[in-house]
């Protein structure tokens, strides 16, 4: 599927060190492959130039689909398919349809968003994505560079970047 990547990564002990290292990498025009952290670090997204997630927009769309599905389905059932008079109420009783419409809006929005989230992140039950170091999900912060096709000078440049910015551990891995 994807070709194997040679990754040079450095681990930092603190998120403030990580943030200053990312700023330094931006100043030096280094091409960061990805940053891995044990928890979401605020301020990191703008430093990395990550576009805002559009997940909430998809949530709204799924919710709108839920609203339409619920309301139109109930209307069709009780006006076209099998109209029944319940307690003298009209066939199209919009107020009575509201609770189910609301619930299905919420259900579609939530299920849709969660499934979309896992899909676009490439996650599913049993999927194993390659991880660089076991302590990334513990207490270390990682900046990773894809060094496929890099010359030894460029790799040395990255090594000195890591030592200048206070990385506590530097290593390479092929993923």
């Amino acid at each position: 599927m994807t070709e194997s990547k040679e990754v040079l990564f450095g681990l930092y002990d603190d998120e403030t060190d990580l943030l200053s290292a990312v700023k330094q990498a931006n100043n030096d025009h280094l091409d960061i492959m990805d940053v891995y952290t044990p928890f979401p670090v605020h301020g990191l997204d703008s430093l990395l130039g990550l576009a805002e997630s559009r997940l909430h927009i998809t949530g709204f769309i799924y919710g709108a689909i839920g609203t339409a599905t619920a309301f139109l389905f109930m209307t069709w059932v009780f006006t076209r398919d099998w109209p029944i008079i319940f307690g003298g109420k009209p066939y199209f009783s919009a107020p009575a349809f509201i609770p189910i419409t609301f619930e299905l809006t919420v259900l579609f929005a939530c299920v849709g968003m969660v499934v979309t989230f896992f899909t676009i992140c490439g996650m599913a039950p049993g999927v194993t994505n390659p991880t660089l170091h076991d302590r990334i999900t513990d207490d270390k912060f990682c900046i990773a560079f894809n060094t496929n096709g890099y010359s030894s000078e460029e790799k040395d440049r990255l090594q000195s970047f890591f030592s200048n910015t206070g990385a506590s551990h530097v290593d390479t891995k092929t993923i």
Partner: protein, 336 residues
């Protein structure tokens, strides 16, 4: 549920009986959708929050445990983009789940309120049930949490401040519930409706008076103890009162259902309900299934959201802000 073996009849699915659809106008059916949605959204939100923590355990585990948590963590890596989406997702789920609580408990209350039974047919029910749900929910969480934090040694993470804040919420919602009880009584009298008036007179003085006074004492009187800061910040008092409130909420549901049914519009149906061993057994079974699931959870999953605690450590952790604050930044080994 009468015929449990055809329980799936409550869902609208294409069938060969017409196709016969369910009655979308009925609160009993609104309930089906509301509770199914509540359950699904809660499970999804709960699981989404657990995924990064399962990854943390995966990376520390070995052997079959590593494979188990690898399966559960879905391949989480901690990538910045994934965290960004995760935070966005959790924010929206939290924002949607809150009106869901309101709507679900309102719809559950409609099962009673849209009927004609005296004591049930009252517009106070939606806010009464919502407040009651939050009231009893906090009490139940406190009962479990006080034991869990002691056994699992989490006193530094689930602090007395958290417990005090929860007690304040219990005080507020308990007062709302108490106000709802008084509103019911007042409106029954003010309405001039003899059946409604009888329903409440019967609750207080009829054959089930003991349940009514149990409810009033446990739900109205006991949360008022939390006005006292000393009691709010006392673990023993909190634990004792949270159990009293759980019992009180059980009485409330018993009072609503059993007393109104025992003295309804049809005098030939009047009787004194006594549970059989089957019903007592089902009740104990509900406690059993709950504790089984809860204890299994505490065995295999983190009871505290690890990644979230880490993210607020700098803002709130003693090491950074308390008297033991390490003012010069150092890589401290005491953190482990």
């Amino acid at each position: 549920m009468g015929r449990i073996w055809v329980a799936f009849f409550i869902f609208p699915y294409p069938n060969t009986r017409g196709p016969l659809w369910v009655n979308f106008n009925s609160p009993l059916l609104w309930d089906v959708f509301a509770i199914s949605t509540y359950f699904t959204v809660s499970v999804l939100f709960w699981y989404t929050g657990l995924v990064p923590d399962f990854a943390t355990i995966r990376d520390r585990a070995k052997g079959y445990r590593k494979r188990f948590y690898n399966f559960l963590s879905f391949g989480w890596t901690g990538s910045a983009k994934h965290w960004q989406r995760w935070e966005s997702l959790c924010l929206v789920l939290a924002g949607i789940a809150t009106p869901l609580v309101l709507s679900v408990h309102t719809i559950v209350s409609f099962d009673f309120a849209t009927s004609v039974i005296p004591g049930w047919h009252t517009t106070i029910f939606p806010p009464y049930f919502v407040a009651g749900a939050i009231f009893s929910g906090f009490a139940m969480v406190l009962t479990l949490m006080i034991i869990a934090r002691k056994v699992l040694k989490l006193e530094e993470y689930i602090t007395l401040n958290h417990i005090e804040s929860m007690n304040k919420v219990i005080l507020v919602t308990g007062t709302i519930v108490g106000t709802a009880y008084l509103t019911e009584l007042f409106v029954a009298w003010y309405s001039g409706n003899v059946y409604e008036q009888f329903a409440f007179y019967n609750r207080a003085t009829g054959v089930y008076w003991w349940a009514y006074f149990g409810m009033m004492f446990c739900n109205v009187v006991s949360p008022q103890f939390f006005w006292s800061k000393r009691i709010r910040r006392s673990i023993w008092w909190t634990f004792f009162l949270s159990i009293v409130i759980n019992i009180g909420m059980w009485f409330e549901r018993f009072v609503i259902i059993a007393t109104s049914m025992a003295r309804g519009y049809l005098p030939s149906s009047w009787s004194y309900y006594v549970p059989t061993w089957v019903e007592v057994g089902i009740f104990l079974g509900t406690l059993g299934i709950f504790f089984t699931c809860f204890l299994l959870f505490t065995r295999i999953a983190p009871v505290v959201a690890i990644a979230e605690i880490k993210s607020i450590l700098k803002l709130a952790g003693d090491q950074y802000t308390g008297s033991k604050a390490n003012k010069n930044h150092q890589d401290s080994d005491e953190a482990h």
